[in-house]
Subunit: 386 residues, 4 copies
């Protein structure tokens, strides 16, 4: 397994340098799918990292997985985020799909260039405040019918399927949170809408409307998110933010090493002040990294205290550090950092955008405090859907 | 004068609501000049705010001027910044132009839609670290010849003239910092380059190359920046950042008042936590505003301690508060804030970009400390040009 | 009036240098009343600053008053705080006492060395969370009877009287917040308890137990705190914290100017880094000062929006800046700052202690957010006493 | 070894609860040596944790050692710091003492209640700025003679010996940094001075004057601090600060769980806001802890990049987090936290005091930036002594 991990790690770095990083600027500018990155990463097995060995995947442990996401994010945050959303959907399949479906749904991930989405957002919902899904599923004979509107649906239109958070409404009008695995396209599934966000622009995320969309019964999974699943989600978001900030630190450091001002004979890296600012960023990111990997190593899927809690702690710290770092690095480099060349302004936009993904800091600090006081906690509050 | 100020203030607010704010999103998206805003602001006299009464302007005091820049920035930071750069050039003409030129150069500002630029940046220079201008001026008979490359030249191509920071080189190869007032176009002046910055995208700022560009002798002003002039520059930058953050606060507040989540009967503004976050931003911006206007009211042009020092204090505080505020407001509003609709992500980009304009925080904190220790300080260190 | 203010200001500075500052260290060490400071300040009229002119006082406007508190706090925070608590009690008398009592109670303040206290805290109450007073007043014939326990009663034992926050309980067991003005000693009034706090040690504040303590009916004032009164209270607290931090800045600056390390020929103030740190503190405190005096100048007693709101804004900002400043100044000066000689560690303790006085930051940010959303706010929530 | 570690850890917790924590308040109040804690800790072997197994000690690895220091600091920061300074001196003996002396000097640590000091500070020196030792050693025949003044000499008067940083001056007046191991008392060694510091008051640290103090030649160790030694020093300081803040977090949490306000039926821990504040502190301290133990685990004594650099990163982050945490915890708990009962104000004082120990944040951020740029770094700059 160590051997597999090391090999994958080396391949990832190579693919990132050869393909992912060079594509990142145009992916961002054009707000398009990082297709070339997906292709190259798929070839070395990155899209099946979290698929179990028995299903043909790498069955990578969580800490190694997080390290891969971080590495990709250093080169291109959008590539890392899409791979993470896809892996999250694969995980949900592994955990929740009926036996006869599992192989069917994972096979394309192993054999072809296939990505799955994971869609939770709705215009009237906030995962951190009150996670209510207005997208409903009702039984009609042998199948189920889906109605509702999702937005921020990453990869909608190109994903071959997606896990969707819904509310199952039974005949007594009782509500229950469920996940459904829908095909990427089909009757009753409409993908639409503009995509001009601040950052993470390669995570092309249009809206999806389900209108009387019928799906087979075995695509409905009861329950919506396990402690381990939500923890993993948050840890991946953290790895994207951290990697993005680390990439920016590398770029800024290279710039300071190379840049010589007119009238000076030394690069600005010789200025003790520049060193101190870089040193400050290094320290903050190192602490964030330490707490992130501690959480990934500790992860016990069914134990909130060893999944949800460390993940919330990690995202809380990483988010704060990555936001500060990307802003400070721009200040260190100065005016030129606001132009696209160095990629610093891209990292600044990417981190601010990625950090808006749930749970938000208020939810996390609440959860950490509640845990400290001995309470059982979950990442999101689904009570509004029940 | 109070009457003039009040009238101008009311007109500015009206023009901002009718013209400047509605245009702001497209100005940003297309990275184009805010021509409709300039036109409407020009009609109510905003472009001649700082032109003396005897030259046909408003002769507005600095605090009132800063208040106008702040108001415009609430609607569109780029419009505010271009007006400020133009006003700064007008000020330099008033302070430094020979009598026979002053009327000639100010008349178009009073009578027509005319803007002037103020260009200081160079690829190899940092105003905050070592302000050396490699753009040289040498005498050749009755005229002077300019050679060099400037970048970030706001309004280059449309400005009818611009103040340019240069180094005068005499026959003994001695150097002296000077400002020159160049025409907007002419032989030896080439405007070129892309413009795809993070923010402040309406302050279209290409590069300008001067190649053996001849100018009349009376366009060369000895000395480069008075204490009052650099203070005013920094105060205007501060007003742009503050106004931009205040505009974002208004937008975020409106959003929180209107937004009702599915499953809730109240707007999110009813959440005590949302109030606390908004309250935090209010307090930070109020303190920044107080120190900014204190500096503008205290301003004594020839006294560094009453111009450079309060201005540095103000920019230091405002910059920090506006950067934090625009980031925090996005967090309060959540995912939707990363899309262009609300303008919050624009303010986030605008403030990070505007705050890169000199002096940087290190220069300012150094300067404030040196002043505390009883030393005479200046905003920039021109020693490298001497 | 300007003349009076200027004269008072000059006298205050002189008395502070001659008496208040020299006494500050021993007042702190021994946790004793700053009697010599009170005496000297009383002689120049400081104890009757807020007593109206018609009652023999200075009738000082709020901004000038705040400036005096700030000046005293630069020399000794405890002296400033006790003067402020006393002045607050005088204000409550002016606002609420019946005509025949007003002269009687204010005369000693004008003619002799008299201080009054203002006691609100109780062991089971939090002014910022739920301001409930368990100390009750009930009518018994012509007089009222007080029962309850107050703690943190500044100057109890030496104050000649004190305003005390209580709950009036009528025959129907209905509750109403009231203030009562009690004599400094008498039957049913017991002063007790240790006093070993972190800071503000000269504000000697034992506990007071009222046991069936009878008071005259005209000592009971209905209502407990006006918008103007609570605003003034918070502004005075802010002036104490700000002045204390400014005093520490002065001390640290002097130290850096004088201290020369072995092996160096220059004082550490010559180090650009030391300057930057001092400059950072200067900027933060200047912004806090600007927002504090803006609030004091704007103060309109009966308008929450012009009293409570600006005062909350000011305390929120000042507290944050003063806490940070006193900690940072110790870091700049290094190990020696932890010893009593320079007074830096005293300021550090004083500010952390003073900043615990209500309202707390959560209450203030909530209040500022609620005001932003257009609601009427008050400084404290007395609903629990009603 | 794991068994030894586990056993020691359990014993430490027990001794801390039974002896160290109960003594902490009086140790602080009286600014006295924590003799009862030393005795109890000595009995379970804590004073020989870092003494090699072959010399009769535990030979504990660095991470386990740091964990013990952290545990003691949760109960009493001064006890932890004195044990750490002693252990640092033991380490220096192990690394630098000649073979025939090593056993002689370590035996009392193993067999009796013996502590050693480690004295570096001088009135005119700053370890973080310019680490020059004015205390000189010169050869006189077979022995060496020491002259100079040290201050902040922890345990001077009770320590049976101490490592002292000096400058060796040879006949050509050349300087070289050395450490000498002096006996605790003897001719030419005078201990004097008051001890009334802000915090860490149990680390009683008077001044020591060496006047023509003769010592044997084998007490002089050439060189002054190895990368591993300075890293270990900084990691121990970090463990003291972190443990102290963690202890305060525990106390504050207990308080919030127990405290019920009048008029409420629930403890204040039920307030979501209190949870969020506690959760924030938890997250910050967890990140600091993660980076601290990462550094301790990674520690390779002779490799600056695996000792000095991670240690600087850890101290930089821990210091910042512990300072913020102890201040924030006081705010959460409110006014009562400023009185001695809960120990929160003690932690606040202890952390601010301990964090002044070198290297300071400027030195650390510089060092981290220099390392990032590929330079070889050391914890302190001894160039002034050479």
């Amino acid at each position: 397994m160590d051997h597999v991990r090391a090999q994958l790690g080396a391949s990832v770095d190579e693919v990132c340098e050869m393909v992912v990083r060079p594509a990142a600027a145009s992916v961002d500018r054009e707000a398009r799918h990082p297709v070339e990155s997906w292709k190259a990463l798929s070839e070395i097995g990155v899209l099946r990292m979290r698929v179990p060995v028995e299903d043909g995947g790498f069955g990578l442990d969580l800490a190694s997985y997080i390290a891969v996401i971080e590495r990709i994010a250093r080169a291109c945050a959008a590539s890392a985020m899409t791979v993470h959303m896809h892996s999250t959907a694969c995980d949900a399949i592994v955990r929740g799909a009926p036996a006869h479906r599992r192989g069917e749904w994972l096979a394309p991930v192993v054999d072809e260039l296939t990505l799955y989405g994971s869609w939770g957002s709705e215009p009237g919902s906030s995962a951190s405040r009150l996670f209510h899904s207005s997208t409903t599923v009702v039984r009609r004979g042998d199948e189920f019918v889906v109605d509702g509107l999702k937005h921020f649906c990453t990869m909608a239109g190109v994903a071959r399927g997606a896990m969707v958070a819904c509310t199952l409404v039974d005949e007594q009008a009782r509500h229950q949170p469920v996940s459904i695995f829908v095909p990427g396209e089909g009757p009753g599934i409409e993908v639409f809408g503009d995509w001009e966000p601040l950052g993470m622009r390669g995570t092309v995320s249009p809206s999806v409307r389900f209108s009387a969309c019928g799906i087979e019964a075995d695509r409905v999974f009861i329950g919506r998110s396990s402690p381990g699943g939500t923890a993993q989600l948050a840890l991946g978001f953290s790895a994207v933010m951290l990697g993005s900030a680390e990439g920016a630190l590398g770029t800024a450091t290279d710039h300071c090493r190379a840049k010589v001002l007119a009238g000076s004979s030394e690069p600005i890296a010789a200025d003790p002040l520049v060193r101190r600012h870089l040193g400050h960023v290094v320290a903050r990111l190192a602490a964030a990294r330490a707490v992130l990997f501690e959480a990934a190593r500790e992860w016990v899927p069914d134990e909130p205290r060893w999944s949800v809690v460390p993940a919330a702690r990690a995202k809380y710290v990483v988010q704060d550090a990555a936001l500060a770092a990307t802003s400070e690095l721009m200040q260190i480099v100065g005016g030129i950092s606001a132009t696209p060349g160095l990629g610093l302004e891209r990292a600044f936009r990417d981190v601010r955008t990625a950090s808006l993904m749930p749970p938000n800091p208020d939810r996390m600090s609440w959860l950490l405090g509640a845990d400290l006081l001995g309470e059982q906690v979950q990442m999101f509050d689904f009570s509004a859907s029940q």
